[in-house]
Symmetry: C2
Subunit: 649 residues, 2 copies
């Protein structure tokens, strides 16, 4: 078991707080049994049908779970843990030290505390950036610069009556005023605040959300559900012309696992729990959901449902729509949920698909029954290097066709392969650069590859040991047909480990005139290559035309594969020195890139969602009648637009 | 390859018309290539985005496909092929011959032309029926008894102008006036007709459907889409108080495969094609969808989408919601579809899930892009006998937990096992009775089993030969842990072969006072045993209380397995001699059985849908808000209730 955990914890428990992975499993099983006893009977044969409905546990109940809350990642006051104007944990960031060497601070990640000698050269060379030209962020938040709250006194009085904690402190409001789109973070760094939430409220359970929504309807308040705040679609940005009190409903305190059902392999969980907490707590009971979006350190179960999230390991565990068994949502019309937990139904259009993707426009997802699986016995990483991107895509397509994709299979283009070297630490076994790794493996064979052409696929296999080894052989045999050379476990493992750290790089860039963003799409197999090359070229062309004075970074990877197509994920960044309005230029280029994606048969989004950033294209994407259907549901469920974040429509 | 086909064709090409299966594959591949040439370019890089939309081919186009239409199963005049007052083909039925022996007529099925010596005894013993007491159906349809059509003259004039074929002959109208619920067929046999469609129209393509719907809106006509007519939810029954002209829109002539895309493994198909035609035509190109509902001889692609159909082999191929890549539907508001074929999207709530399950209340599904797979290299049947039903269910649950379910795995209870003997033909190798089969296998071991307790699981494996054999071993090893004995391929094969023939038995029963029906549900694993026994007991109890004078047949099987639960399928029939209103009694008992299902945590339906038969329970199933959402979509898409079949809402 230890071997598995050693690999397993690399994923979502990279940082110190994950004691679970290291403690004794059978002991953990005991905890699970105890919790099960407490929540027993939830699916026993009822005296009457009403009892079949999955019922919210009282906020006071579940002492066993409450006691666990010290383990939760997100405190009410996020500023205690998280940055107010950048990505992730306060104590973790990239910086150039006094010697001008890059290092990653803190203790949470495998890369933490390490010096990265190659990063500076890559950074300067790629972006034409220089450590002389700095654009530091405002160091601290100045509350006096935050617009004063618009407070509906009647609502505030009623809210006080409920004893549900709330705040209108500037810091609390600013933390819920943005996601992580470039322009949102750029504005924060400059201390520019437009419309921000007026109040923040922290319900502890479903019943408290019902109470809050009831009061919001009574006083005509605008409610914006807020989960992890990891949105990259402007989904949590406040509409600038909203005159009503804007209430940010922070779900972070609804973070309990209400029950685990080992017979049906399901868990009933409050929707505010973040991914890393959900997996860690389930692991204590010997289970996992296997849902691992790249944002899982901070994104929430409710957020996954609201945006139709996709997980890295969906090939085994499925995307969120495959994992959900039951959803409970509070709307201005009342609570919506199904009356039973049948695994699959033909009872008219599936109302859960009216909720999944609704992006906070209809209500608050409060509780979800989600599938769980026993923790896999064995995990193994792997990697394959291909002579070029075309061969890599052809291999991924064949693997998908043969339905033998590992838990995860991702293909990086050559630019991302090159980038791999930049994050090589001074001292480390695992962090030997990809190139070194390859040379070690194929001192001779490798000579045949052009370093400016080759690309790399990273793999993650899961299951029982014997099957994993068979599976591995099958995939490497297919890869060989496309010129792919197995490039070792370390190279694969590093790729996945860096997933969480890379998110911190944008803040470093913004200290030195470099701005960037990622965006994604899904596309049929026969259009993947055209789409990748056309979009990357379009970005470079647009940068020239828009007066960007340095060549941009324009790179992509294939991150998910399906029977009929794939998900492609783009990174795009450039040095904006000499531009008067860099954010506007950035927005124009991203807009052009999306036009290019759509013109090449790509979708508006594979998993980031629409929000406000992409709503411009929704009508042409789902047709007039399709959009009209969404509008009709919105008008029925929320006629006064209480959930007024203005996403989608 | 031959071995595969020999088995493969047992499924959906049991009858003689399936030459495809016997002809040379490489030749068939040629046909496919030719068709592909004709339809090439549909997904090439377009000059502008509009061309990305999946476009309807002109009705006149696709000569290559038109030429295939002689192979289609369903003619415009269904009476040429199908019964007007019972199930299936005119030439295929069970009957007792002059010697009083049961036989199955015709040439289409493996059982056709065979005498079944054991059936009479089983029939008389099980139902207390007697060949002396007959209740024959009216032999012929008497047009003068059919209510005259209500004809909107303006609409009829405009319809003539379109040159789209239509009819108001009594026979054509009666054929589209019913599905196959007991009370529907019972009424037909007695020549009792209530509200029936006034007109039948046969569009040839999407554009003609658009024209018809446009005219229907102009003249306020009630349109009821009609596919295979295999509904068992009253979905195609006309509302008795509908005063407008009711137009039955028969999709059977929209039966072309418009293109096959071998790069993305998809096919774009007109929605009126029936399952057996779709699979046969795809097989000619070396592909299949693998979607095989028990109704697939007659049910249509559009019907599957409209009711959220489930296929026997969903463990490999998925249910209809897993197979659909693109849907095109004509509504009173216009055409609804997405603008691209990305394999998975996060673009708000999935509008295809507004269509799937809409049961003809929103519009007509005209074209569907569906996933295809290469025909599997190898198929193998199997069977396992368990000492009792509990052990069988425990085994299926473990197989599902280990995610190693074969393409199909079904568990019959003891009553259905007993029934197996009844269909043993006089002379046949394959049709040796199950009991004989078992004895042959386990002349000794078998002594341990109680014939009144044991139950049987039938299996179907698909894939490449080596993997199938590994897979088979894994499943039989699990079965052994639950006391299961492998009982051979023939026993399994027979189970699946009888699927299509069993549907003909109800008509035999109705000749001798026996009425019955099947119904289904989905339920979490931990409730399966309770639900099965409680529902079967409830049926028996209700029969007593309602004055049924003979013990009923009350039996079930588990037909689908999922991570979190299973689908359970019930058969229920009784001898109604001595009852004044047998259909009413039957309806009361079925209603009580559904109440029992819901009280035991079962869903309102797994795959039959809601229609009008189960709409009484829809509100409590999906909550007030859920139902309100469906209503709001209906009111937006179809404010004048043009699609007025009154299903669901």
């Amino acid at each position: 078991m230890y071997h598995f955990l050693a690999l397993h914890c690399l994923h979502y428990t990279l940082h110190g707080s994950s004691m679970a992975s290291n403690s004794n499993i059978s002991e953990l099983q005991q905890n699970a049994k105890e919790r099960l006893r407490i929540i027993s009977g939830h699916l026993q044969k009822p005296a009457n049908r009403e009892q079949l409905r999955v019922s919210a546990n009282e906020c006071k109940a579940e002492a066993a779970d409450r006691s666990l809350e010290k383990n939760r990642t997100i405190p009410k006051r996020r500023q205690e843990t998280l940055k107010w104007n950048g990505w992730g944990y306060n104590d973790s960031k990239f910086m150039f030290n006094k010697k001008g060497q890059a290092e990653f601070t803190g203790k949470r990640y495998r890369l933490s505390g390490m010096v990265l000698p190659a990063l500076r050269e890559w950074f300067e060379k790629t972006f034409g950036a220089s450590l002389e030209h700095k654009t530091p962020a405002r160091s601290a938040l100045n509350p006096s610069e935050v617009p004063p709250p618009i407070l509906n006194e009647g609502f505030v009085q009623d809210l006080k009556g409920t004893a549900i904690p709330f705040s209108h402190e500037a810091e609390d409001r600013i933390f819920r005023a943005h996601g992580h789109c470039l322009h949102e973070v750029f504005a924060l760094r400059e201390g520019k605040f437009e419309r921000v939430p007026d109040l923040v409220v922290w319900p502890n359970c479903h019943k408290e959300v019902e109470k809050i929504v009831e009061l919001a309807c009574k006083h005509n308040i605008c409610v914006m559900p807020f989960g992890g705040g990891t949105s990259v679609s402007n989904a949590v940005e406040c509409p600038s012309d909203e005159k009503r009190t804007i209430l940010s409903l922070d779900t972070s305190q609804m973070n309990r696992i209400l029950w685990i059902d080992e017979k049906n392999l399901t868990a009933h969980v409050e929707a505010g729990i973040v991914g890393q907490d959900l997996e860690r707590l389930l692991n204590e009971s010997g289970y996992c959901t296997g849902h691992e979006p790249d944002s899982m350190e901070f994104s929430t179960l409710g957020g996954w449902v609201a945006t139709r999230a996709s997980g890295m390991k969906k090939n085994i565990y499925g995307n969120i729509e495959d994992l959900v068994v039951h959803i409970r949502m509070v709307t201005p019309r009342g609570v919506i949920e199904k009356s039973c937990q049948g695994p699959r139904m033909s009872t008219g259009p599936d109302i859960y698909h009216f909720i999944m993707g609704s992006e906070g426009t209809l209500g608050v997802v409060t509780e979800v029954t989600i599938k769980i699986r026993p923790i896999p016995e064995y995990q193994k990483y792997g990697s394959v290097v291909f002579p070029n991107f075309d061969q890599g895509v052809a291999c991924l397509r064949e693997v998908a066709k043969q339905r033998c994709a590992p838990a995860s299979i991702r293909l990086m283009d050559n630019e991302q392969f090159q980038f791999g070297h930049a994050l090589k630490p001074q001292v480390s076994s695992i962090f030997t650069s990809f190139l070194d790794g390859l040379k070690k493996f194929y001192i001779t064979k490798f000579k045949g590859f052009d370093p400016n052409q080759l690309c790399v696929a990273t793999l993650l296999f899961e299951g029982d040991r014997e099957k994993v080894l068979q599976h591995e052989k099958q995939v490497y045999d297919i890869a060989a047909k496309f010129g792919g050379l197995a490039a070792g476990e370390d190279n694969g493992q590093r790729g996945y480990m860096l997933t969480f750290v890379i998110a911190y790089l944008r803040d470093l860039g913004m200290d030195y005139y470099v701005i960037g963003e990622s965006f994604e799409t899904s596309v049929p197999w026969d259009r993947v290559l055209d789409l990748c090359s056309n979009v990357k070229e379009r970005i470079i062309r647009e940068c020239k035309e828009k007066g960007v004075q340095f060549p941009p970074l324009s790179t992509c990877r294939v991150t998910q594969t399906y029977d009929a197509g794939a998900c492609v994920y783009f990174y795009f960044a450039f040095n904006y020195r000499g531009l008067s309005d860099p954010v506007h230029v950035y927005d124009q280029i991203e807009h052009a890139a999306r036009e290019e994606i759509l013109a090449n048969g790509g979708s508006l989004s594979h998993h980031h969602g629409v929000g406000k950033l992409r709503k411009h294209w929704l009508q042409e994407t789902i047709s007039d009648v399709g959009l009209g259907m969404l509008r009709s549901v919105k008008e029925y469920v929320d006629p006064n637009n209480i959930f007024g974040n203005r996403n989608l429509l």
